[in-house]
């Protein structure tokens, strides 16, 4: 059973629309991360989220992006006014509580902006 489930698995949206990508951990975790992988390119860090606030974000994570835990369980990435270049796989990762635990990645959401 995966540590984290991402929904939807594939999202198609028109340019300019808003999308919300969801990440549901199997149990309570402290650290959450979003990564992006544009087709054929490397996996890039977007943002880390600790104790219900952003702890670090990359240059990619501009005002178009936001993250939150609306109900204390789900972890969401919102992309406002999507652009063609936002098309990518978006991976959520979690870090279990305790020690130097490694990250567990979800299977990703493929976002296609047309």
């Amino acid at each position: 059973e995966p540590e984290v489930t991402q929904t939807p698995s594939h999202q198609v949206t028109q340019m300019g629309q808003e999308v919300i990508l969801r990440c549901v951990p199997i149990s309570n975790h402290l650290y959450f991360y979003w990564y992006r992988q544009i087709l054929g390119q490397k996996v890039e860090f977007l943002v880390s989220f600790y104790n219900n606030e952003i702890s670090e974000k990359s240059e990619i994570f501009d005002d178009q992006f936001s993250v939150e835990r609306p109900d204390g369980s789900n972890f969401t990435l919102k992309i406002r006014s999507t652009k063609l270049e936002d098309s990518a796989m978006y991976f959520c990762a979690i870090r279990p509580r305790g020690g130097n635990s490694p990250l567990h990645f979800g299977n990703g959401t493929r976002l296609t902006v047309t």
Binding site: Y33, V43, S48, F91, P102, N107
Partner: protein
Amino acid sequence: TQLLEQSPQFLSIQEGENLTVYCNSSSVFSSLQWYRQEPGEGPVLLVTVVTGGEVKKLKRLTFQFGDARKDSSLHITAAQPGDTGLYLCARVGGNEKLTFGTGTRLTIIP
């Protein structure tokens, strides 16, 4: 930006052959991880190396961390079709933030 260069970018070999892929950086790693990613899935952690010169084995996979902690290699013995995938090295930063390398896409031909 601390770039991680992986080589080769693509590798296609016959089942049963041996192979080595590399991960290089101009700066020192505090720790480095290797991941395998299959189509439609997220990266899956294979190993973490921390100490310069460290060697770790995972069945037919051997991971080596350079003495200066600026490079690492992954050697696969007797490759099998199930080894096919994208192999990623990653620098581990504060709060486990990962900076991934450019990746090696490996294809094992039955």
